[in-house]
């Protein structure tokens, strides 16, 4: 029923993905991924279960495929669960990300984004649950600065943590929660429906789940395919599309209250990689050759309004 647009001139891709740090992350991720094996063939889409017949692109030697029904983009096959756990918890990459330098850097560059996210949660809580303080479960957090901000927010009565990535720690919940935060975590899971059902079981009826995630149906993902340096295994196992997320939410017992793609960076990402846009994509190549700053802003606003950006933000409510 509602569509969103966010105008924020302060967000720049170079701030979010600074060259030195980001290229080191990519190097470590690639080393890890190339040292592990993957199964052959194409599994059905992990969101819709639809058969997939065609590899969309490759990153670090791993195939990604597109769901013909929902436009979800996911790895061709389920990653080995042990390898996945090692990637996030016990690898050179995990240690790099857990370092004080990395975390400080992250906090410095993303503080204003986290503030906006906090404000978004605060507003939606007020709209859907009314004023008050709530028990909050943060699922899969990875930045200590982020958890510190949310743990001390004025709407939080009790802050718990599940499945954190190093160096974040915290206590799991002992009772069903009012609110669950799942920020940029769903994309790390091969079985997102299973994860959402698990989350649902930790919530009270009427509770709210806040999600942010990368979407497979976004402009930069579909335009650049394997040339998109912001998408890589195993950080991005499954990128549900807008339709895919709706399907997942419904299957896991949630009602969608808000689903928007207020992403800021699709056009910047494509612009930075415009020389690598596949040759067959004439229109995108032409658009990017004509795109000045003003047109970029208008194009990004168009993507936001029509749910075509690759950053999804959603609020869903646990059904009774």
């Amino acid at each position: 029923m509602i569509q969103h647009e966010v105008q924020d001139a302060s967000i720049r891709i170079d701030d979010l993905h600074p060259d030195v740090t980001y290229s080191e992350e990519q190097r470590l991720a690639e080393n890890f991924v190339r040292s592990t094996a993957s199964a052959p063939g194409l599994a059905p889409c992990p969101v819709s279960g639809s058969p997939r017949h065609e590899v969309f692109f490759q990153r670090f030697g791993r195939d990604y495929a597109l769901c013909p029904r929902t436009w979800t983009v996911a790895l061709a096959n389920e990653p080995d669960p042990d390898a996945l756990a090692a990637y996030f918890h016990d690898s050179d990459l995990a240690r790099f990300r857990a370092s004080v330098t990395y975390q400080d850097n992250l906090a410095r560059r993303r503080a204003h984004l986290w503030d906006s996210q906090l404000e978004w949660v605060r507003q939606r809580l007020r709209r859907h649950l009314g004023p008050g303080r709530f028990s909050v479960l943060d699922w899969g957090p990875k930045a200590v600065g982020h958890t510190a901000l949310f743990a001390t927010a004025d709407f939080v009565a009790d802050y718990r943590v599940m499945a954190p990535l190093p160096p974040v720690t915290g206590r799991p919940p002992e009772a069903p929660c009012d609110v669950v935060l799942l920020f940029d975590a769903l994309q790390r899971f091969w079985r997102p429906a299973e994860l959402l059902r698990r989350i649902n079981s930790h919530m009270r009826a009427g509770g709210l789940l806040f999600l942010t995630l990368r979407s497979g149906s976004g402009f930069d993902v579909l335009t650049l395919g394997g040339h998109n340096t912001t998408i890589y295994p195993l950080d991005h196992v499954c990128l549900p599309s807008v339709a895919g997320l709706r399907l997942l939410a419904d299957q896991a017992g949630f009602e969608v209250l808000e689903l928007a793609t207020p992403g800021q960076l699709d056009v910047s990402i494509v612009e930075q990689a415009k020389d690598r846009i596949p040759l067959s994509q004439y229109f995108q190549r032409y658009v990017m050759s004509q795109c000045d700053d003003a047109m970029q802003e208008r194009l990004q606003a168009f993507l936001q309004r029509n749910n075509l950006s690759s950053h999804i933000q959603a609020v869903v409510r646990k059904k009774p």
């Binding site: 969103h4 647009e5 966010v6 001139a9 302060s10 507003q123 709209r127 004023p131």
Partner: protein, 335 residues
Amino acid sequence: MEIKTGIIGMGKMGRIRKQCLDAHPDFRVTALCDNREDAATDFPGVACFTDWRELLAQDLDAVFVCTYNNVIADIVCAALARRLHVFSEKPPGHSIGDVRKMMAAEADAPDRVLKFGFNHRFHYGVMEAKSIVDSGQYGEVLWARGIYGKAGGITFENSWRSDKDLAGGGILLDQGIHMVDLLRYFLGDFTEIKGFVEKCYWTGIPFEDNAFALMKTDLGKVAMLHSSATQWKHKFSLDIFMQNGYVCINGILSSTRSYGEESISFAKKQFEDEATAMGKPREEIIYFDRDDSWKLELEDFHQAIRTGNRLAAGDSSDALKVMQLIEDIYNASGK
């Protein structure tokens, strides 16, 4: 339990109300009235009358008054005297005197609901903006600026809205009343009024085609209003600026979408220490693509009838205060 309902006046608004009532599980439209005899042919199966007194004599629980402004007060008073719940279109009569008359009738029927149609309060954009303002997240309201303008068309000068007896006022009373109501809704009661009420273009009508007003509350909150019948491109815009942020309502959904898409934009204020460009804060815009205002307004009426609770909007006190403001604007302009 069924609420047997009659509608008086089957013009545009009467038909909109009937559609909503027909879709509601509790209301049943059992009688209609219009002074054009042929109106009955559009509503087969429903008892139709040409005299509103005849309709009020039927076995009814509630009545909707969708007539010209000049007869609203008489019908409302008669309906309340017959112990009916009453929903009346805006404006609440011709004048503040009409409102007082209706309030007296209401006082004699204390268990009946009297509601006036200020449906704009039930637009999603307005509701969302109100929730942001009331949350206090951006601090106290400093000022507001409301513009509501339409293009008077080919028939404007000859329409009932331009008839001195039927309408009782110009664009301010007809359409601007919604913006006056909203400004009061967001800022509180105004105690100081300055205004210009002008015939800028439509010189052949007895009323204003443009009204400009500045209104101030006791707390020093200032509202600027422009209501126009010479806004050749339809416009609805309400900006509310607070100590630490703002919310702007742009456009209001209508059946023709001539007032544009309905959206709110809002942001926390950012000075140069937070924003990359001064005066360009991180702004969120929400677009609303559905207008349920008629339905929600009807539900407010329904709830008040069923539960006896207060109306969320459009009670006689709202009507009195908004009509007082309109009268004050006319007086301030010397008209």
